[in-house]
């Protein structure tokens, strides 16, 4: 019963809000209240229409933005894992690199993004670098914390069971760190789309943000909403897939 309600209730709530919006927009209440032309306040039906009629244009730009997000996440996660692992194995390296990591993370994306566009152009890779830049830190810090939270008694036990440093890392530290790693991954996945949009804002010739800026200027509001709906779906899918991966991989919890 509770399981059914957990699906039915949020769906019903969203449907009700969309319905309310449909009524308020189609009857012109919102436009009247804001003193606007009705075409500036599209109803959900009109947004759906825009989604369908512009599907090729929207899909082409979605594909661009999606690649920026996914490659950025992949690169940032790999860098984060490599950094955390290296810092776990070498105390010296951790002492040397960790302050730098914090400093790099503190560089405002808002400042660095336009510079990267100047250096590397309008293509895909500057965006990937910017997303990776924003994503590696939560991965590194959470993974490192997870690796360090290992039970010292378990490590002692592994030593008497002839474990090498690597065996202890693989069989004890990594599984111990996984829940913490996924906490970092969830932050990364939530941040990545926002950063990708910002990177496009700094300079691009395609992508959803590019399209949104254009459409806003041309008062194509329905298509702006359509692009926003796509971004919401991407965000929800990313968080949902990460949570699913966690449940499948950290199956003992």
């Amino acid at each position: 019963m509770r399981a059914v309600l957990r699906i039915v209730l949020p769906v019903a709530l969203i449907a009700a809000l969309v319905g309310l919006w449909q009524i308020a927009a189609s009857t012109g209440w919102i436009a009247d209240a804001l003193d606007l032309e009705p075409f500036l306040v599209p109803s959900p039906a009109e947004v759906g229409d825009a989604l369908w009629h512009n599907r090729t244009l929207l899909w082409d730009n979605t594909w661009v933005t999606l690649r920026e997000i996914l490659f950025g996440l992949l690169a940032g996660t790999l860098v984060g894992i490599a950094l955390a692992t290296a810092m776990r194995f070498s105390r010296l390296l951790r002492d040397a690199v960790f302050p730098l990591t914090v400093a790099v993370q503190a560089v405002p994306i808002v400042v660095i993004a336009p510079i990267l566009v100047v250096w590397f152009g309008y293509g895909l890779w500057p965006k990937v670098v910017i997303v990776a830049f924003a994503v590696f830190f939560p991965i590194t810090v959470n993974l490192l914390d997870g690796l360090r939270s290992v039970d010292p008694e378990a490590v002692k036990m592994m030593r008497t069971l002839d474990a090498s440093r690597w065996a202890t890392f693989r069989r004890i530290e990594v599984p111990t760190a996984l829940p913490s790693f996924f906490s970092g991954a969830k932050v990364a996945v939530a941040v990545a789309p926002i950063v990708a949009l910002f990177a496009e804002l700094a300079g691009s010739n395609s992508g959803l943000m590019r399209l949104i800026i254009q459409d806003n200027a041309n008062l194509e509001i329905a298509r702006v909403f359509a692009a926003t709906v796509i971004l919401i779906v991407i965000g929800v899918l990313l968080v949902g897939l990460t949570a699913l991966a966690q449940r499948l991989i950290v199956s003992w919890r």
Binding site: D151, P152, E153, A154, K156, M157, M158, R159, T160, L161, D162, A163, S164, A167, R171, I172, P175, S251, W252, R253
Partner: protein
């Protein structure tokens, strides 16, 4: 394989945990160490296993005096079962083989051979969370045995179990040792357990631990545990051990090395990391 220690002392900074302990455990002998909590018996076990170095004195396990050599000869079973929740019971038991580079299939086959004998048949694929306390302890013991080390160091192996499961597990361990003799060092705070399982029981004083008495168990690992632990000789040995324990707990005229009071919190944090 035999274990010998001469004049072992150990301290954690200012705090002396062991003072001049001499031990000799013969091949295939079971020696129990009992003493008040915090008397350094776990530290002593860790020193023998090569997990720690003494501040003074010597230890040899099968002729090996270095920490690495001792570690190679000893299998240590900690107080908590420390089964890894991400592995099945079988993979937990096979851990030592996997650590030595044995392939997964072969390690599982080797460890799996012992499951029936330990009353764990059918639970190979179970995750530790699905097992009862007694079964978890048996898997942990199996993991220690599969390591194939000649010396077993058991640190209060059944302390986390309720009284009934504990008695059951003592009977079970006695059976396992009757079937296959091993050199065992058993740390316990339970005198009955020590006198039932061990050939000899060494009583340690309060910190810093030193040996205050040594008793020979009347009927080690008897098949009928209930009869053995209520026999007059057992009860007498138990009384002697209790008296030695109480004398050792109070006889030391020196005040504790670290005073109680404001330093209490610090002392506790120290114990968490190193005491057990």
């Amino acid at each position: 394989m035999s274990v010998a220690a001469r004049g072992l002392s150990h301290s954690y900074g200012e705090l002396r945990s062991l003072r001049g302990v001499d031990l000799a455990v013969g091949d295939g002998e079971v020696l129990a160490l009992v003493g008040p909590s915090g008397c350094g018996k776990s530290t002593l076990l860790e020193i023998v296993c090569g997990l720690r170095e003494p501040s003074a004195g010597e230890v040899e396990v099968g002729g090996a005096a270095g920490a690495a050599g001792r570690l190679a000869h000893c299998a240590y079973m900690p107080q908590r079962d420390l089964l890894l929740p991400w592995f099945s019971a079988l993979d937990n038991a096979a851990l030592a083989l996997r650590n030595r580079g044995v392939g997964k299939a072969e390690a599982r086959r080797e460890a799996g051979k012992l499951f029936a004998r330990f009353g764990l048949a059918g639970f190979e694929a179970a995750r530790p969370g699905e097992l009862s306390g007694g079964m978890r302890q048996r898997v942990a013991f199996l993991r220690t045995l599969v390591a194939g080390k000649p010396v077993l160091a058991l640190d209060e192996p059944f302390a986390s179990l309720d009284a009934i499961s504990r008695a059951e597990m003592q009977g079970w361990l006695a059976g396992a040792l009757r079937a296959e003799a091993r050199t065992v060092l058993l740390v316990s705070h339970d005198i009955e357990e020590a006198l039932y399982l061990a050939d000899r029981v060494v009583v340690l004083s309060a910190r810093p631990g030193r040996i205050v008495a040594e008793l020979r168990a009347p009927d080690p690992r008897a098949a009928d545990r209930d009869a053995a632990v209520t026999a007059p000789a057992f009860v007498a040995a138990r009384e002697a051990a209790l008296r030695a324990l109480h004398a050792g707990a109070t006889a030391d005229p020196k005040p504790p090395a670290v005073p109680f009071g404001p330093l209490g919190a610090k002392r506790n944090s120290w114990r968490k990391g190193a005491g057990r």
